[in-house]
C-alpha cells in the first residue's frame, strides 16, 4: 500500500518538471488564447478588451471575409507541399544512399537550401522569379516560353511560394530518411536478396515498412512546417496579389501587428490550433493503424 503510494508519488515527481513546463508554455497560453478570442480588442476599442461572445468568429467567417480565401490557400499549400516534399525527400535519400563518386557534393547541394536563412533564401527567389531579369524566366525563354511574372500573378503566386517551401524543406526532410536508410538492418536486405526479391519488391515490402516511424515523423514536421509559412510571404509576395498567396500565419501576423486587431488575431490562432490538432490526431491514428498492419 505504502510502496504503491510511493511509486505513484515518484511517478508524479518525475513527471512534474515536464508537466510544469507543459502547463506554463502550452496549456496556459492555449487557454488564454481561447478566452481572448471571445473579446473584441482593436484600435476601435482603444486596445481595451470588450466582451464580444462569438463576434470575432462571426467576422472571421462572414461571407465577404478574406479569411475563406486565406484558409483555402493554406489547405491547398499543405495538401500540395507535404506529399511532394516528403516523396522527393525519400527519393533523394534513396539516391544519396548509393555509394557513388562525388555523392558528398550532391548530398550537400541538396541539403544546402536548409542551411540558408529563410529570409535570404526568399530574397534570392524574389530575384530569380523576377519578370525582367530573373534566372527562372531566362530559362523559360531559353526553352521558347514566355516570361511570366511568377510572384505577381494570381495564377502563379501560390505555386511559386509552394515551390520555394518545397525547395527549402526537402533537404531537411531528406536527412531523416537518409539516417533511417543508413540505420537499416543489413540482414533483412540480405535475406530478401537470397529469397530473390527484386529491387522494387525490396523497396515496397521491406524498406518502406521499416521506415514507417521515420515517415510519421517527417510528415508531422512537413505539415507543421507548411502551416508555419510566414517569412517566405513577408519577403516574396506579402500575401498578394489580392490575397492570392496569403496563408494563415502571415494573415494572422498582418491582423495582429499591421491592423492591430488582436481579438480577431486570437480567433485566427484558435482556428490554426484546431487545424493543427486535427492533422496531428489524424496522423497519429493513421500511424497507429499502419503499425498494427505491420505486425
Amino acid at each position: 500500500m505504502s510502496s504503491k503510494l510511493r511509486a505513484i508519488l515518484l511517478g508524479v515527481a518525475l513527471l512534474l518538471p515536464s508537466l510544469v513546463f507543459l502547463v506554463m508554455f502550452t496549456a496556459l497560453p492555449v487557454a488564454q488564447t481561447i478566452i481572448n478570442s471571445f473579446y473584441r480588442r482593436n484600435l476601435a476599442t482603444r486596445n481595451q478588451p470588450v466582451w464580444d461572445g462569438l463576434g470575432n468568429y462571426v467576422r472571421l467567417f462572414a461571407a465577404d471575409s478574406d479569411f475563406w480565401h486565406v484558409l483555402s490557400n493554406t489547405l491547398f499549400a499543405v495538401a500540395f507541399v507535404v506529399p511532394v516534399s516528403v516523396i522527393l525527400a525519400f527519393l533523394f535519400a534513396l539516391l544519396l544512399n548509393q555509394r557513388l563518386r562525388g555523392i558528398g557534393w550532391l548530398r550537400s547541394s541538396i541539403f544546402y537550401p536548409t542551411i540558408l536563412p529563410m529570409v535570404s533564401a526568399a530574397s534570392i527567389w524574389l530575384l530569380m522569379f523576377n519578370v525582367d531579369f530573373g534566372l527562372v524566366n531566362s530559362a523559360v525563354k531559353l526553352f521558347g516560353g514566355k516570361a511570366q511574372n511568377f510572384l505577381g500573378t494570381t495564377n502563379w503566386a501560390l505555386w511559386a511560394v509552394c515551390f520555394v517551401i518545397i525547395w527549402k524543406m526537402t533537404g531537411f526532410l531528406m536527412v531523416f530518411y537518409l539516417a533511417g536508410l543508413q540505420g537499416m538492418p543489413t540482414d533483412v536486405m540480405e535475406a530478401a536478396r537470397l529469397d530473390g526479391a527484386g529491387a522494387w519488391q525490396t523497396l515496397w515490402h521491406i524498406t518502406l515498412p521499416l521506415l514507417r516511424g521515420t515517415t510519421v515523423f517527417v510528415v508531422t514536421v512537413a505539415v507543421t512546417g507548411a502551416f508555419q509559412t510566414v517569412d517566405h510571404l513577408y519577403v516574396m509576395t506579402q500575401g498578394g496579389p489580392n490575397h492570392a498567396s496569403n496563408l494563415l500565419l502571415f494573415n494572422l501576423y498582418e491582423t495582429n501587428f499591421r491592423f492591430q486587431d488582436s481579438g480577431l488575431a486570437y480567433a485566427q490562432t484558435v482556428v490554426l490550433l484546431l487545424l493543427l490538432l486535427i492533422f496531428t490526431i489524424a496522423n497519429t491514428i493513421i500511424a497507429d493503424r499502419r503499425s498494427y498492419d505491420a505486425q
Partner: protein, 453 residues
C-alpha cells in the same frame, strides 16, 4: 558591444565632472563647444549636465544605401555638440517593424524609445493606440516660424483632424517618374521633354516598348503598397481618395475609376506595361538594366539610382503625369515622440528632433538619401544649392510639391490602404472589373471605418 557602452558612459562621466567643475569655478555660463550648431545655446547646453541623458531614436530603412552609417554620423555630431546627452540611433527594420517594436514594448508594459521615425500615415493609428506625446509645448517654444517652414504638403499628414501637429517631417518623399534619356533619344523623343500628361505618357511608352517583354515603356510597381503610386491619378483629376476626416475614404468616385481604367489599360490593352503585380524592390533594377524606360518610384530612391547608374546624366526625373494636370501624394516618415519618457529625456529628445529637422541636416539627409528636404530653408543652404546646381534631378521633387496632396490614411489606416491596394491589384490583373473592384473596396472600407463613428 558591451565595452563600447561602458567607455561611452565613462566618457560622459568625465565630461560631467568637467562641466561641474567649471560651474563651481565661475558664475559665467560654461563655454559650450565651439561648434556654431543651431540648437547648442550655451545656457541650454549646461542644463542637462545634472545627469547624462540617454536618447534612443528608432529608425527604419526604407530606401537603398548606407542609411544606418549616415545616421550614426549624425548622432556622433549631435552628441559632440550636446554634452550631457547621449543620443543613439537604432536601426529597427522596415517601417512596419519599427511600429511593431514600439507596440510590443508598450503591450509588454515597457517604455518605448522616446522618439522614432514612422510613416506619416501612421499618425491616426498612433493616436488611436494612445501612444503619442503631444508636442504643443515644444512647438510653442519653437515658434510658428519653425512649423511654417516645412512644406505645407508635408504637414497634411502631420496633423490630426483638428489641425494639431503630432509629427515632424523628416524623411519625406513623393513619387516621381524616372526616365531613361538615352532610350528617349534612341526612339526619337526629346530627352529634355518628359511626358506631361496621360496622352504623352502613352505615346512615349508605345514608342519605347520593345516586343517580347525585352523592354517596357512604363513600369509602375504594384506590390506592397500599390495605393501610393496609384493615388497620383485621382489627385491629378482633382479628387483625392482621402479628406480631412479620418473615418471617410473615397474609393468609388468617378475620378478614382477613370484613373484605374487608364492604369489597367496600359498593360491590358496597350501592352506598354508588364502584366500582373510588379515588385517595388526590383523596379529600380529593371530601370537600371534598361528593361524599363520609365518607372514610377519614390524620390527616396534617387541617390541610390544615380549612384548605381552607369551614366547618371541619362537618369531623367520628372513629375508624375496626370490626365491633364499634375498631382501626387506625399509619403515617407515623420518623427514622433512617445509617451512614457522622463521629462529630461523628452527635452533631450526634442533637441535631437530639432537637430535632425534643422535646415542643414535636412539638406544633408536629402543629399545622402534622395528624400525631399522637408523644409524650405534647407534649399537655401549651400549644400542644397550646390546639389541642385550639379544634379538638377534633386530639385524636381521639391518643385512637384506644389501639386502634392495628403497620402491615404484613416482609422485602421494600414487595413484601409490594403483594401484599396487589393482592388487595384485585382483590376490590374484583369481579375475584377475596375468598377466592381472599387465598389467592393468602398464597401469593405466603410465596414471597417463604421467602427469608428
Amino acid at each position: 558591444m558591451k565595452f563600447s557602452t561602458l567607455s561611452v558612459k565613462h566618457m560622459s562621466a568625465a565630461l560631467l565632472a568637467t562641466v561641474l567643475a567649471a560651474c563651481a569655478q565661475a558664475p559665467a555660463p560654461t563655454a559650450a563647444p565651439a561648434k556654431p550648431a543651431e540648437p547648442a545655446k550655451p545656457a541650454e547646453a549646461a542644463k542637462p549636465a545634472a545627469g547624462n541623458v540617454d536618447v534612443e531614436l528608432l529608425f527604419p530603412v526604407a530606401v537603398g544605401g548606407p542609411i544606418a552609417k549616415i545616421m550614426d554620423g549624425y548622432m556622433e555630431r549631435f552628441n559632440k555638440a550636446n554634452p550631457g546627452i547621449t543620443a543613439k540611433a537604432t536601426f529597427a527594420g522596415g517601417y512596419a517593424d519599427v511600429l511593431t517594436k514600439i507596440q510590443t514594448t508598450v503591450q509588454g508594459g515597457g517604455k518605448p524609445a522616446p522618439i522614432a521615425v514612422l510613416l506619416s500615415t501612421d499618425l491616426q493609428t498612433l493616436l488611436d493606440a494612445d501612444l503619442l506625446e503631444p508636442l504643443d509645448g515644444y512647438l510653442a517654444k519653437a515658434g510658428d516660424a519653425y512649423v511654417n517652414d516645412f512644406f505645407p504638403a508635408f504637414m497634411l499628414n502631420s496633423k490630426d483632424k483638428n489641425g494639431k501637429v503630432w509629427g515632424i517631417p523628416f524623411q519625406r518623399s513623393t513619387p516621381v517618374m524616372y526616365y531613361n534619356k538615352a532610350q528617349f533619344k534612341e526612339v526619337g523623343l526629346d530627352p529634355e521633354k518628359p511626358p506631361k500628361n496621360w496622352a504623352e505618357l502613352l505615346d512615349a511608352a508605345k514608342k519605347l516598348t520593345k516586343p517580347n517583354g525585352d523592354r517596357w515603356g512604363l513600369q509602375v510597381p504594384s506590390d506592397g503598397f500599390p495605393y501610393w503610386l496609384f493615388q497620383a491619378g485621382p489627385i491629378s483629376l482633382g479628387k483625392n481618395v482621402v479628406g480631412a476626416e479620418p473615418n471617410k475614404v473615397f474609393f468609388d468616385t468617378p475620378e478614382s475609376l477613370e484613373a484605374l481604367n487608364f492604369f489597367v489599360g496600359l498593360s491590358q490593352k496597350e501592352k506598354v506595361h508588364p502584366t500582373g503585380v510588379i515588385p517595388w524592390a526590383t523596379t529600380p533594377d529593371a530601370f537600371l538594366a534598361g528593361k524599363a524606360s520609365m518607372i514610377y518610384h519614390t524620390t527616396g530612391s534617387l541617390t541610390n539610382i544615380l549612384s548605381k547608374s552607369a551614366n547618371p546624366a541619362d537618369v531623367g526625373v520628372a513629375f508624375i503625369p496626370g490626365k491633364s494636370g499634375f498631382g501626387v501624394p506625399t509619403g515617407g516618415g515623420n518623427i514622433y515622440m512617445f509617451k512614457g519618457a522622463a521629462q529630461a529625456q523628452k527635452d533631450a529628445a526634442w533637441k535631437l528632433v530639432q537637430f535632425l529637422s534643422s535646415p542643414e541636416l535636412a539638406a544633408e539627409w536629402s543629399r545622402d538619401t534622395g528624400y525631399v528636404a522637408s523644409r524650405k530653408a534647407a534649399y537655401d543652404t549651400e549644400i542644397m544649392k550646390k546639389l541642385v546646381a550639379e544634379k538638377p534631378q534633386y530639385g524636381i521633387a521639391r518643385d512637384q510639391l506644389q501639386y502634392a496632396q495628403k497620402e491615404l490614411t484613416s482609422h485602421q489606416g494600414a487595413q484601409i490602404q490594403q483594401i484599396y491596394g487589393n482592388a487595384i491589384q485585382a483590376a490590374v490583373e484583369g481579375k475584377k472589373d475596375p468598377k466592381v473592384a472599387l465598389t467592393d473596396a468602398q464597401a469593405a472600407a466603410d465596414k471597417v471605418l463604421s467602427q469608428f463613428k
